[in-house]
């Protein structure tokens, strides 16, 4: 019994339980919204949201496909947060990466073997890093707030890419980039034989593998290397890090570059996926970049958590797509996600409640240390 209590009170378990509670509350809120708008169909439609992500092999493949870009932008935002920076510029970095991937891949089709897509993805990574470098340098050298620089580079990147598309790989009829032919796209790695129903093949491809490997590399970088430790130290306390001899300007610039590279690679992975998607010439910021923020928050900024969060949101997205059969607007999914994120802000409350219940002594200790506890939060 005592061992159970200890297990339940360990911080990993309590965070897991509080995340789970946030998810349950979010789903319940979505269900209530659906009940209000159309009570006769709500139950069946809600069941589709919950189940269709694993209903057949094709849908499972679609979940992996939708998860790929948001895992990458989630990693970008989450990595920057770990180093104390808020990278709201992931959208611009994503767009620059997507454009360079398409451009380089199409221009290098003459090269043998897998070179076109490898070069395309490398260009996307470099382009994203370059676009992340701008707010990084401005922050480090000119003390420009990275949030505002990120917002500005989002727009500059979007307009610049629109301009460059019309000068290079432009499809005038559709007002978008040219299609990338199959030779220039990321290989399917045999997924097309697994994730399909009859003739309907899902769009999943090697991109999800690249995203997963990136997450693992990022985990190693953050948790197992001196460099990662330095970056995190800067995020936790800049002054202390400087006192310890860490070059904080170098850390800021490098972590924005890495974050940008991740977002840029995400753009490359989406547009070289071979799913027939082209980059449109429209004056709208890429939503994938902003979707990285909730993914990172839900994954608590840890690389592995972000992979799970990306898969979870993609799962709901596929469910919402299939739910349209019942004449519900798919925006229910975003409402659910928003509520989940909002209630993940309650995590501290749940956590303290659990810890307070299970280990009464611990709460006392915390109060003595002067750490925040939610019980004391009641009005003043």
């Amino acid at each position: 019994m005592n061992r159970w209590r200890q297990l339940l009170a360990s911080s990993a378990v309590t965070s897991f339980i509080s995340s789970l509670m946030a998810i349950v509350v979010g789903l319940a809120a979505g269900f209530i919204v659906m009940l209000i708008s159309n009570s006769s169909q709500a139950v069946r439609a809600f069941w589709v949201i919950l189940s269709s992500g694993v209903a057949d092999m094709r849908n499972i493949g679609q979940v992996l496909y939708f998860a790929t870009p948001i895992i990458m932008t989630g990693l970008a935002v989450g990595f920057a947060s770990r180093t104390g920076l808020f990278n709201i510029g992931a959208s611009g970095q994503f767009t620059v990466g997507a454009f360079l991937a398409i451009l380089v891949s199409i221009r290098s089709l003459a090269l043998p073997g897998p070179l076109p897509w490898i070069l395309g993805l490398s260009a996307a990574t470099l382009g994203g890093a370059l676009w992340g470098l701008i707010p990084g340098v401005l922050k480090a050298w000119r003390n420009v707030n990275e949030v505002i620089a990120g917002i500005m580079t989002n727009y500059i990147g979007m307009y610049l890419v629109n301009f460059l598309i019309t000068r290079t790989v432009y499809d005038r009829l559709r007002n978008q980039t040219l299609r990338v032919p199959p030779r220039g796209t990321i290989p399917k790695m045999g997924f097309e034989h697994i994730f399909r129903v009859g003739n309907s093949v899902s769009s999943v491809n090697g991109g999800i593998v690249i995203a997963a490997v990136t997450a693992i590399l990022l985990y190693i970088l953050l948790e197992k290397t001196t460099f990662g430790y330095e970056l995190k130290a800067c995020g936790l306390n800049r002054d202390a890090a400087r006192y310890a001899g860490i070059n904080e300007n170098r850390s800021i610039i490098l972590s924005m570059m890495i974050s940008g590279a991740l977002a840029g690679l995400g753009g490359g992975l989406l547009y070289l996926a071979g799913a027939g998607k082209s980059l449109d010439v429209v004056d709208v910021l890429a939503p994938e970049g902003f979707n990285g923020i909730p993914v990172a928050l839900l994954g608590m900024n840890s690389p592995l958590g972000i992979v799970l969060a990306g898969l979870f949101i993609a799962y709901l997205t596929v469910g919402g797509f299939n739910m349209q059969l019942f004449r519900f607007a798919p925006q229910v999914i975003e409402i659910i996600t928003a509520v989940i994120i909002y209630f993940s802000a309650f995590a501290l409350l749940f956590k303290n409640f659990l810890e307070g219940r299970l280990v009464p002594g611990r709460l006392l200790e915390r109060e003595e240390e002067g750490e925040p506890t939610a019980e004391r939060g009641g009005g003043s």
């Binding site: 707030n145 500005m152 727009y155 229910v332 509520v339 909002y342 004391r376 939060g377 003043s380």
Partner: protein, 306 residues
């Protein structure tokens, strides 16, 4: 003008939240909620009400809905001491989804049309003045004047009243404020509520002159207002300057073809669209050395800390 005024109003809103110590990244979402409720009000009652009263009522509706939308953010960041980015992001995500979902459930399409009958052709007397007349008092909207009035009110409230002094104290050093009997929680709630009201209004003010239907978006103006707020160094008059600087650049970018000198240059139109953002970035690089951000911004207030 049409670009600057909503930026001004929303950035002033952000200022009230941030000077009280709460980051409000949800300005974009609150703008959408405000615009949605305001436009829905106009759409529903347009036939029954004459132009200007309908607009004024709609602005009140937008402000009230903005306050409602901002309250969950205030609760999470004040009482729950949560990370203020989290609830802001949640609100930004919720707002467009809510607007589209409700619109589609009510009218099956997501756009809400309205008839623009709010333009004032010329203000009596003032419109006849030379130079300023055509510039400020002809073909204008009541919302433009409202923007300036709000600016003056904000400045007075923030710097000339005890409420403003206490609010600023909560943003700089809440422990010190508390020690002299200021209710930090209440003031932070007030700060966020005011920011919700202004951002909600700003959303409607942005939509009215530039469009005839509302499509669940304010084109990233909430984030731009955040940029204007930082560029304006959290000070009302500087925010006005920043909003006008940005609005001027934006006007040049959208009307360059009318200026013969600019349109004769061999430059693509998309390059002009980049100018406002590039100019802001350059201006920031030369003006950001001394940041005057509220010191306790983004830090939850905990009485136990010193």
């Amino acid at each position: 003008m049409f670009f600057s005024i909503p930026l001004l109003i929303v950035a002033l809103g952000g200022m009230f939240a941030e000077r009280s110590g709460i980051l409000n990244i949800a300005l974009e979402g609150i703008m959408i909620i405000g615009a949605f409720c305001g436009i829905l009000f106009i759409h529903t009652y347009q036939a029954a009400l004459p132009g200007q009263p309908a607009l004024l009522l709609a602005i009140l509706v937008a402000a009230a809905s903005g306050v409602l939308a901002a309250l969950p953010h205030a609760y999470a960041s004040v009482h729950l001491k949560a990370n203020q980015i989290i609830s802001g992001t949640a609100l930004n995500m919720f707002a467009p989804a809510f607007a589209i979902y409700t619109a589609r459930m009510l009218r099956t399409v997501q756009q809400i049309p309205f008839i623009n009958q709010f333009r004032i052709d010329t203000v009596p007397f003032l419109g006849d003045l030379p130079v300023i007349g055509p510039l400020f008092f002809q073909r204008s909207y009541i919302t433009t004047y409202m923007g300036f009035i709000l600016l003056v009110i904000s400045w007075v409230v923030l710097y000339k009243t005890s409420f403003g002094l206490r609010l600023r104290a909560c943003g700089e050093h809440p422990q010190a404020a508390d020690s002299v009997g200021v209710n930090v929680y209440a003031l932070r709630y007030a700060g966020v509520a005011i920011s919700g009201a202004l951002a909600g209004m700003g959303g409607l003010v942005f939509i009215i002159p530039t469009s005839t239907n509302f499509n669940a978006t304010v084109s990233g103006y909430g984030f731009l207002a955040l940029a204007v707020l930082i560029f304006g160094q959290w000070r009302p008059w500087r925010i006005l300057g920043a909003a006008f600087f940005f609005g001027l650049m934006k006007t040049v970018a959208s009307s360059y073809s009318g200026i013969s000198f600019l349109s004769s240059l061999p430059i693509n139109s998309t390059v002009y669209k980049m100018i406002p953002y590039l100019a802001t970035l350059v201006a920031l690089a030369y003006s950001s050395q001394s940041s005057m951000a509220p010191r306790a911004g983004g830090v939850p207030y905990d009485k136990g800390n010193r």
